[in-house]
Symmetry: C2
Subunit: 462 residues, 2 copies
């Protein structure tokens, strides 16, 4: 067997022990908050039927789906004509019937339809699993990455929207973030604006342009609007709307008068107000308020073709970074699988970006880098025999412990403890075995204490 | 877009909320024990380079690897000659360079070699991830399933073997299993036996045959041994060895005299004895002993081509089921990637089988089917307003809680709570709002109590 210099596919990653502990800290925090709000975890298979995924993400998306080659003699049923065409695109469905999950939304829709008779609606589910995209890899963009989604389907209640704001707030606060903004908008407000300026058919062009306000400024947006078919007159009408300032309440007040002629627009405003009212009620007993983190942003338009009501996006203000979360309400998630009129609303956390933010702000708890709590040294057979009963006593007390598995020089064992971030080492030499008082070394402070086994167990149990 | 009746690829599974809670109970129990013994979690990508996997699992294994089709115009670089050959086997490497992980062992070996300069040896890692095999699906055999592996590389110490016995014992006990057997053997003992009967070259044939003693009995084994080239004389020598009975100590005593002429065989016996000695020392302070669960079984031979020292296998005696765990020591895990002489030992838990065993024995804790702890009813707008501050107070106390998101009939809300296994429901009607005493209903007993919000929080916090 030829020796292969090992590597992994581009855009994929190994996760080391210290990275895994940090990643699990993020996933566990988010899932504990999801659960507290009544969301239940499900999982779907890594591979879906290709027909389940195709046509759901646009032509560009279809190209980015990883297809799995059929097993066995996959070429046997292809006509010579088709094979001779050398048309890679055309041959895909002949040689591949399965593909890797591209996101969690389409598999979730497929799940809801397949299991609709077992599901009790409203169905509140969360899902934390990897997805795969054959994108060109670059900094921060991977071909395998995790999504963390929570959705509720079968409930029109805006309590769900209000609770998603609380879920974002609680999860990000628990992760140690302080200065972040949960942006909220409503598709109906955007529709209302397009109506008011008399260009309802250009709503997508309008929102794509004003969504860029942050990045390209008002002049840039103006230019893009003109390119996309808006008149100077339209833009004059738009300007005061997209430049709205003030508190959320002030913005809502202004919008209500601007959109007074649009029934849809007014409905959007009422929805936002209802969500704010629910939030006020929900947090009325809280010490802290969430209002400083919540911002009505009528330039927010992500996934417009998809969302029909509320639109969410979350950004941190402590580090330069794209959005770390987003979501919204959609009215026909499962229609593509034949189950129509099932409304839903959902959010997503960008776990990889959150990881980078916590790393940069040094917000990972120290315990998140600790695994084994204590290492027992091993200098000879006699010390090893002395150590083993203590080792297991520590574990019986729930303390993660290990012995250096064979005798070795002190320095080597200390390096091992350091590399593994083990905070305590128990040193057992002839002196220790004679007196029964063992040396407990604090690896951070360097401090050493002589203690009995019982005292050591007590000290490490804290 | 045509409506597709949704399905999933054969051999794959969706996991519902109740299944996920049970699966997580198993994974969390196993990983908490791994951690207690100093093992750290890592993860590797779902896709590996095809060259990393090919040739590691035999010809049959290679066929069962799921290959991922290259993106883009994957046919463009294939010669007409090759394409015209219609040789599916030959074309694989032309149109696929990535494949799905087939097990956790080969990716782990690849990981160790790739990261050898960052790793502190001995390297104790565990890994709980799905693997994929294009096997014919059947009851209990899936195309996507999880493996739970712990391995240590870079340590010859038999303390590791002893600790794996403890890990099996602790994890399975924690999961509620009582009557299980951890079987242990040693490749060197098997080599010694083959030596003694004068057929060292037939060791694989010998072990394959005697491994079946449980299934086909002594007559079956005898027949198979003759088919595989052993003489009646050989079999006479073998019989007393494979039919060894008595305690582990008695078996070791007999073996020592039988194998006295085989240096390798004696080494195997000494290794087993050393492991037993370590176990005695480790558990000397324990209340319970593990000896009733540990059995020396010299017919045990799983993965013989691979293991060089200890061999493990775990079976439950409470349910008819194949092995629920296995492992052993290997001397050259990383040689295939150019890093030789790195010894390792590892074990694996069969999570899917353990799931079936716990289900059959009803060993999943009741809490494992509970998600939300309390549902607040919703009968009208006024009650909803009354409920929301309480809802968030419950969550602030760490109690998983939800409100039925819109007003609905009592029966519908009760069904929702039942379906979701929610143990408590808070009923808020006009009476309750007037007095401030809310009705707390225990969904299991049907019992109802009138309590203040504070009393409810106290009752549910227990």
């Amino acid at each position: 067997m030829a020796v292969i210099k090992p590597s992994i596919p581009k855009g994929t990653r190994d996760f080391s022990a210290s990275e895994m502990v940090k990643r699990n800290h993020i996933f566990n925090t988010i899932s504990s908050v999801f659960k507290k709000y009544g969301y239940q975890e499900i999982q779907t298979p890594t591979m879906e039927n290709l027909t389940t995924l195709t046509g759901k993400y646009g032509d560009e998306g279809d190209k980015l789906i990883f297809k799995v080659l059929n097993s066995g003699d996959y070429l046997s049923n292809i006509s010579t004509e088709k094979l001779d065409s050398r048309n890679s695109q055309l041959l895909i469905t002949e040689i591949s019937e399965k593909a890797l999950r591209y996101d969690l939304t389409v598999p979730f829709a497929r799940y809801v339809v397949m299991h609709r008779n077992e599901i009790s609606f409203p169905f509140k589910r969360f899902q934390i699993q990897p997805v795969w995209r054959a994108d060109r890899p670059q900094k921060g963009r991977y071909r395998e990455f995790y999504q963390c989604d929570a959705d509720v389907v079968g409930s029109e209640s805006l309590i769900n929207e209000a609770e998603f704001v609380l879920i974002y707030h609680e999860a990000l606060s628990k992760l140690g973030l302080k200065d972040f903004t949960i942006k909220i908008n409503n598709r109906k407000i955007l529709s209302g604006i397009a109506e008011i300026i008399g260009k309802p058919e250009l709503i997508v062009d309008m929102t794509v342009a004003i969504d860029k306000l942050d990045k390209i400024g008002l002049d840039g947006v103006t230019k893009e609007l003109i390119d996309r078919g808006f008149s100077a007159d339209d833009i004059e009408k738009l300007k005061p709307i997209i430049l709205l300032t003030g508190s959320n309440e002030e913005k809502l007040g202004s919008l209500r008068s601007v959109l007074s002629a649009s029934e849809t627009g007014l409905k959007g405003i009422t929805e936002i107000e209802t969500i704010f009212d629910y939030l006020q009620l929900l947090t009325s007993q809280n010490q802290e308020t969430i209002s400083q983190n919540l911002e009505l942003d009528i330039t927010l338009a992500r996934g417009l073709n998809y969302y029909t009501g509320a639109i969410f996006e979350v950004k941190t203000n402590e580090v330069a970074m794209g959005s770390i979360g987003g979501g919204g309400r959609y009215d026909d998630l499962t229609g593509m699988f034949g189950l129509s009129d099932l409304t839903g609303v959902g959010i997503s956390f960008g776990a990889d970006r959150i990881y980078d933010v916590l790393e940069e702000l040094k917000l990972f708890p120290e315990s998140a880098s600790e695994s084994t709590r204590v290492l027992i040294s091993n200098f000879d057979e006699q010390a090893e025999k002395f150590a083993l009963p203590l080792l297991q006593m520590l574990r019986n007390k729930g303390i993660s412990a290990e012995i250096y598995p064979s005798s070795a020089k002190l320095k080597k064992q200390m390096t091992y403890a350091d590399d593994k971030n083990i905070p305590y080492v128990i040193l057992i030499g002839s002196d220790e075995m004679e007196t029964g008082l063992l040396t407990l070394k604090n690896m951070k402070s360097g401090e050493q204490q002589k203690l009995s086994s019982e005292q050591i167990i007590a000290a490490l149990s804290v």
